[in-house]
Subunit: 288 residues, 2 copies
DNA sequence: ACGGTCGATAAGCGTTGCTGATGGAGTGGG
DNA sequence: CCCACTCCATCAGCAACGCTTATCGACCGT
């Protein structure tokens, strides 16, 4: 169970080819073949079918483990290296688009920060592996409940903001005049499925809402502007934190009253934030 | 970052001795020394101070990673091996004491089951590494919310039971006559700290309650009988699921009305439960 | 039928990683 | 105060591992 063997295993599985994996990893085809053979002998079960190269049932199970495993390994290496390396000057902050509300943006220093917009799942990984110094993740949660984050590594989290959630409707929508909406009122509505830009509907199901949603258009970008435009054009409703929902052209933001969930933003960092990062953490946590 | 190196690193750190670790691992002292040297060179930072042998700051960070890492590695190996191995006849079920309520016990088959009582943290690990075929974990959660489990491996969870939570008071307690109690009413009470037997108070804080608790006696066993006896003797209050709280001699169980949390039990299993385990899963999930 | 590609296997060889021995450093006892 | 003991680091030697090169059988398209 050498990490090297696991790494070649995942590349072989991904490329569905021993030779291609060898090329990508800088090995010989023979070496890759021996790697896989060694793994299969070690685990006592065939992992791949040859010709075509496809994971077996056991191989599929292994694949589910290896990703997080290698991630954690990288995280450990990065975490230790961070303590030895000289503190870098630049500070990179990974965040989801909806986490960057006005309150957060106001707390940023005037210069020296690199913002990197990532998926919710990518942010803990980026912080753990040192790709980013700090992370901002947001999501839906019961009031004062922490978010459920994948624990790829021992990360420290601080809640930095909580605000109400709004439903974004096109201006002419029959419910646009309401002062508040229950999710039950919207059982038959069509929702935009935009996991990287809006708040993911799937979180609502775990956070207490029930029932199945009917997604219409799926939007895989991270631009809030086009997202609100899609809603304005009638392609579906969107769930957004109130501050980012209000004021979008052609839309109306109505507070969500039930289930009682809030949009929560959390700041994430590894063990020992260096100078500039530590200062930013202090400012954000104290401020919020 | 060979797993072997990591394994010797943790043993050295645990035993605070190169030679002792070598003895335990079946290596020479020289080999252990070289392992640590290799790790330190690979990571670019000293991990241990010698004489006395103590983790450095970087070493401490590494230690936090290595435990889960090796656990996941074992889990992956066990998971794959499980698919190749012949299905065992015996079925072992790991559970917390409070998870074994009457409803659960009734669903067990008449014979062929080994029950193993473990800590909440140990159960996911046991299921992941194949030490147990199935796991039953319980805890406090908002109604219909899933529990927060450490994700040591991709495990499947099914909610199997939810029931109200009761506060266990000694029979003569001033609040014993109440029909319901708010946590606020008990702000000044003394609580038994029994993380392995009762419901851990710490979970309440994340589940919505606030404030600090004043633990009195700490009980590290898993026997509910002595736990209720401790409460009856006035050593502190205990939080228990209603069905296990009622009827204990010398105590009164009063429902907890606020915060609105329930005692939730979840069934855990790995990817491919074998015959007997699969049947038990089906029965429990359908029944609940 | 035949070149081309793919993965498995054998042989050769450099490197790794172990053992055993030795040395310097700190420690406790006589 | 010195000696014996323990601890970890280091060195030399050797076996085993892991890579490459080379070759083979199987499959595919032409």
């Amino acid at each position: 169970m050498d990490p090297h063997l696991l790494r070649t295993y995942v590349t072989v599985a991904r490329l569905a080819s021993f030779s291609a994996a060898a090329r990508e990893l800088g090995y010989t085809q023979s070496a890759v073949s021996q790697h896989i053979a060694a793994l299969e002998q070690d685990l006592g079960a065939p992992l791949l079918t040859r010709r075509p190269v496809t994971p077996t049932a056991a191989g599929e199970r292994l694949l589910e483990h290896v990703g997080p495993l290698l991630l954690r390994l990288d995280a450990a290496r990065a975490d230790v290296a961070r303590m030895a390396a000289a503190p870098a000057h630049g500070l990179t902050l990974a965040a989801t688009p909806t986490a960057l509300g006005p309150g957060i943006l106001g707390a940023l220093p005037a210069a020296g920060v690199t913002l990197r917009v990532l998926t919710r799942d990518e942010i803990p990984a980026a912080v753990a592996t040192g790709t980013a110094d700090l992370g901002l993740v947001d999501g839906l949660a019961a009031p004062s409940d922490p978010l459920r984050l994948p624990d790829v590594a021992p990360l420290t989290t601080h809640g930095v903001a909580e605000e109400p959630v709004s439903v974004l409707l096109p201006a002419g929508h029959p419910l646009a005049g309401r002062t508040g909406l229950r999710l039950g009122d919207l059982a038959d509505a069509r929702w935009l499925d935009a996991p990287d830009a809006a708040l993911p509907l799937a979180q609502l199901r775990t956070a207490g809402g029930g029932g199945a949603f009917r997604p219409s258009v799926r939007y895989e970008g991270t631009d809030l502007r086009t997202l609100t435009a899609l809603t304005a054009a009638g392609h579906g409703l969107t769930l957004l934190p109130r501050s980012t929902a209000t004021g979008a052209a052609g839309t109306v933001a109505v507070p969500l009253t039930a289930p009682r969930v809030v949009h929560r933003t959390e700041l994430l960092h590894g063990g020992a934030p260096s100078g500039a990062a530590a200062e930013l953490v202090r400012r954000m946590v104290d401020g919020g």
